[in-house]
């Protein structure tokens, strides 16, 4: 089992003819993902590595029975591309693009509340169910199939923690990067809820970072609703207030909300051990299993 994606997932890549879209389509195909279509306005009828391209997402879904999309569209057009995907019958939209204007995402967020389709991202590395499907830019070779779920705001931090797990022979059911922007689709809670419902997931790693209050809300959710044990990590303990640490959402406000301390203590109060190092997170998971 897994959550959100598996070997039945049929993927349409939005922006498949661009540099990143093309490269990562090849990578996803190599990993064994069913990439069934591309969507690029004006490029309908072409193909990329044998994958047929359509002018609209709707046409791609109709013709190839796509169930999920991955968005590699530049930031200026990404909001529109996500809207286009949300207005079809897709189950999941994964937006990789970094730098989507926040007010565009507020409008997308509004539409999201009106449809059944899930959104992952934007500004995220994507999602992988090891051995089955990879949607996004994660390096497939570090993952191994297993029984630990992972949800994280950050791409490379995910890779670090996954490698600490895989080195100990601990594999993953599904790993999800939810993205580092202030307004994102799938939240920690959405992912935790899905892992809790997945019988194959025996433990969960949650990697948060400074900014916002999503980790605090997730802690509350864990305390009230989860039986599956969770181990946590919070990046940004040394971040000064008022400075954006790379991710648009990673900022401790001047008044002191969004700090690592607040998140760590909320998680600890919920019974979640928070590692000082990625190694310690793997230690906790090993203890759980």
């Amino acid at each position: 089992m897994s959550i959100f994606v598996d070997d039945d997932t049929r993927v349409v890549v939005q922006g498949i003819t661009g540099g990143e879209g093309k490269f990562h389509t090849q990578q996803m195909l190599e990993y064994g993902t069913n990439v069934v279509a591309g969507a690029v306005p004006g490029k309908g009828g072409q193909d990329v590595d044998g994958v047929p391209v359509y002018d609209t997402v709707d046409q791609a879904v109709e013709a190839e029975d796509a169930t999920a999309s991955v968005v590699f569209v530049p930031p200026a057009f990404a909001g529109d591309a996500i809207f286009e995907a949300l207005d079809t019958d897709l189950d999941l939209v994964v937006a990789i693009t970094e730098g989507v204007p926040t007010q565009d995402m507020a409008k997308v967020n509004k539409r999201l509340s009106e449809v059944d389709t899930k959104l992952l991202g934007p500004n995220c590395p994507g999602i992988i169910t090891p051995g089955e499907a990879k949607l996004g830019i994660l390096p497939g070779n570090i993952f191994e199939s297993g029984n630990v779920g992972l949800v994280s705001r950050s791409g490379t931090l995910t890779y670090q923690v996954v490698s600490n797990l895989t080195e100990r022979g601990i594999g993953q059911t599904t790993a999800i990067g939810i993205g580092g922007d202030p307004i994102i689709g799938t939240s920690f809670i959405d992912a935790l809820e899905a892992f809790e419902a997945d019988p194959e997931t025996d433990a969960v790693v949650m990697c948060g970072e400074i900014g916002g209050e999503d980790e605090e809300q997730a802690a509350k959710y864990i305390a009230e609703n989860m039986d599956t044990p969770v181990a946590g990590f919070i990046a940004g303990r040394t971040a000064p207030p008022g400075k954006r640490m790379g991710h648009a959402g990673a900022i401790v406000s001047g008044s002191g909300t969004g700090t690592a301390e607040s998140k760590i203590s909320a998680l600890n109060d919920a019974g979640v051990p928070v590692g000082d190092t990625p190694e310690e997170v793997a230690d906790s998971i090993e203890d759980f299993l």
Binding site: G99, L138, G155, T156, L157, Q160, E209, T277, P278
Partner: protein, 381 residues
Amino acid sequence: MKLHEYQAKGIFADAGIPVPESQLADSVEGVLDAVAEIGYPAAIKAQVHVGGRGKAGGIKIATSEDEAREAAESILGMDLKGYTVDRVLVEQGVDFVDEYYVGVTMDRGEGKPVAMVSTKGGVDIEQVAEEDPEAIAQEHIDPAFGLQPYQARKVVYDAGVPAEYARDVTAILSKLYDLYEDNDASDIEVNPVMITSDDDVIAADAVMNIDEDALFRHPDLAEMEEDAYQNDLERKAGEYGFDYVRLSGNTGIIGNGAGLVMTTLDLVDYYGGTPANFLDIGGGAKAERVANALDMVFSDENVDSVVFNIFGGITRGDEVAKGINEALEQFDEIPKPVVVRLAGTNAKEGMEILNTDLVEVEATLAEAVQRAVTNAEEVAQ
């Protein structure tokens, strides 16, 4: 991107929001000329991107030419929390009877803009939010429909604004929301909105920050960006296109991906060192970018040692190694010891290329950080 008060007030005035008469000046003579025209009392306000300017001595009221000269001499050229003041806004002093707060920002938890009004203006609104949250009325706005007129009235009445000023305050809020939306602002606020002794309602201060990710569709605003950088290193990082934040420690840090770079900083601290900076080279960096990153960190005089931590997804270890070699081979002597840890895509190829006469290599993140911290301690002695 932050706009200066004078820039935001220009935009507010064009939108029909009443603001006091003012002039920008960059010299003592300029201030005196401006005051002569505007009259007394006049406020002389430092134009720098710093909160709490008043408390820090960056705002002074002058009631005579001597006071104006004194204020101009003390503010122009002063250092305000790391920024040098080279311009002041000379503004008509307002005799006020009350001060309110009006603002619009993004509530990231809700994913919606929120309009806020309070009759406790003129003080740090974040402090009010903490101590007396009831004193701030809020109304969330559906981004698809914008701020409806009734919502603007509702939040103004909820805040307890007296009926005789409610119409004018509502008008300011509605115009602020239009500016927020039209300009892709991330925050827009007036603190204080002043009720003058003549019963006028005017915007006495102006804050307007623009979403940097949306600047591509606002070239006019992009041109208004001024002295965004607090120091030369941040300016240089801006030119190289790095996400960079300078800190006060002596272990320089370079990595890929915001979460992992933050983690590297945290580990430097955990192992007893002090981080000198946050530097994210981003995804898919090529050799030249890697070399630029090293140049950045080497040019920080606080840095005694460097840790280079890469976990490649789209970033390739061999490209990173090539960049490190190129950057270091130009030195007769390596300026500061560099510890490298490469993992992920093409890490093995990278390790083979890496010139280990020039750098130390560690296999894990923890070992690399500990080595860099030890190096920093040794160099500092």
